[in-house]
Amino acid sequence: MDFLRLIGILIIVVGFIFKFDTIAVVLIAALVTALVSGIPFFEFLSLMGEAFVNNRLVTLFLLTLPMIGIAERAGLRQQAVNLLEKINGITAGRLFSIYMVFRELAGTFSIRMQGQTQFVRPLIEPMSQAAATTKYGEISEADAEKIKARSAATENFGNFFAQNTFIAASGVLLITGTLESLGYTISAVDIVLATVPVALFALVVVVISNILFDRKMNRKYGRVNQQQKEGK
């Protein structure tokens, strides 16, 4: 009945799928796993308490929050937007590439943001739609949808592949914490260094893909646009 020990994973999967309270789901998964594996209740309390206290490091980022709070009130995000808006003469693809650079740097400097709500919806998506219609005139609905999808995807790419280039990112601390409980002591700096090639490669792929996207849009609408001009 070795497989009974995997019940904790099942609890987490089911709990996450049905969106039960995450903290409680994780605690229940830990408790049930311990009990079916023959760890007595009081020993579980000790183990869980010790493991949680030993991993306080993972949540040390709380100590950076007063600073980030002050910086936000002092206009951190607004100044970031200012820098972005200064760039003109833009195509949708180039805008996505610039946003990717910006988003990766934001991750490195721990500028905390909910990009989809704070940047993509109010700024990136409307700007890229505007860039396309300014250049090509009317575009098809399918292409407008494509631009929406690319706006959202760019935010996720920049967020995911660069967030661990910040030394106190919770992902970095989780990696060092987990490996330490498994018996391997590693430095958070090494995690950051190992993530840098990932962030750079993701950037290169995104930029190439955006160049191809701009070319495709040029081929599709460039001629139509010219005919319109010649027709006039």
Binding site: G8, I23, G69, F109, A153, N156, V198, V206
Partner: protein, 307 residues
């Protein structure tokens, strides 16, 4: 030196404890809060575990965690009303400060990395020192008083909220899993299918294990604890793979799973709604080619760099 670093870290944990206790106090005195008692108790318990965890018996911390679980499952912990940053105030301030507003966050990164690289104190103390140093710079740049610093801290902590503790809790879950032998069970099951001792197969199993588990759970952090214990350690790291490289790449390859799953609603479903897209899976479809390219890149990089 070891003892000094431990004391220094303990000091930072006590600071976090004080910050959390301040949040608890603010919630307790906030008459408009929808779940004043439970939420205040939640922050107080967390603050207590942070500040005193090292000085009390572990089973007390464990029992307090179960109390926290009861509080969150009975919905006694709520964010309540958080004072948002005034857009106009932030705008005016950014016009006045210009790029100087970036100085605190840059200080944090530079000090944290600098301490980790050039002093014997290590990366963990570096984050604490960076946090304190950058806070002082921020107060100087923004001309903020200590009271405002505490208020901003309170606002940010409440916004991050309960889920901020999820990574730490998952790391603790990983310890329980290890103790219970969950990793061994997965490792045994996997080794029935694939041979150990082959780094390439190990790297592929670790990477794809992360992708698939992240897609099922919708959360790469949760997948990381399970898959690292079950596949990463026996099939990659025990075979001589560099733990830092393997661990770092396993996490980001897990994010490729996040790009392809409807379970990660925050990232893939939220923008569909925000942008009023026609296709519910439009964002995921756009992300799949990139995710596949990145998975191949991770496997190649881990194989050549970790070994």
């Amino acid at each position: 030196m070891e003892a000094f670093i431990d004391n220094l870290l303990e000091f930072f944990f006590i600071l976090v404890g004080v910050l959390l206790a301040y949040v608890a106090f603010n919630v307790a005195t906030d008459k408009a809060h929808p779940a004043r008692l439970g939420t205040s108790l939640f922050w107080l318990i967390m603050g207590f575990i942070f500040a005193a965890g090292n000085f009390i018996p572990s089973n007390i911390s464990g029992a307090l965690l179960l109390v926290v679980g009861v509080l969150t499952i009975t919905k006694q912990v709520k964010i309540g009303h958080v004072k948002e940053v005034k857009e106009s105030e932030a705008q005016a301030s950014s016009e006045k400060l210009g790029n100087l507003v970036f100085l605190p966050v840059i200080t944090l990164a530079v000090v944290a990395v600098g301490v980790a690289q050039f002093t014997p104190l290590g990366g963990q103390a570096g984050i604490g020192i960076g946090a304190v140093a950058s806070l002082l710079i921020a107060m100087l740049v923004a001309k903020a008083s200590p009271k405002e610093a505490l208020e901003d801290g309170d606002r940010m902590v409440r916004q991050v909220g309960v889920v901020g503790f999820l990574p730490q809790l998952l790391a603790a879950l990983g310890v329980i899993f290890t103790e219970a032998g969950v990793g061994d069970v997965i490792a045994n099951a996997i080794s029935a299918v694939i041979p150990a001792g082959n780094p390439l197969i190990g790297v592929i199993a670790y990477s794809l294990g992360m992708v698939v588990f992240t897609m099922i759970m919708g959360n790469a952090f949760a997948a990381f604890t399970v898959i690292t214990a079950g596949i990463g350690i026996p099939f990659v790291i025990s075979q001589g793979g560099d733990p830092a490289v393997a661990g770092a790449l396993a996490m980001t390859v897990g994010f490729c799973g996040t790009l392809m799953t409807p379970m990660a609603a925050n990232f893939n479903a939220l923008p569909v709604a925000l942008l009023e897209m026609k296709d519910d899976n439009g964002v995921i479809k756009e992300q799949i080619p990139m995710a596949l390219i990145m998975i191949v890149f991770h496997i190649v990089l881990m194989y050549f760099w970790a070994f």
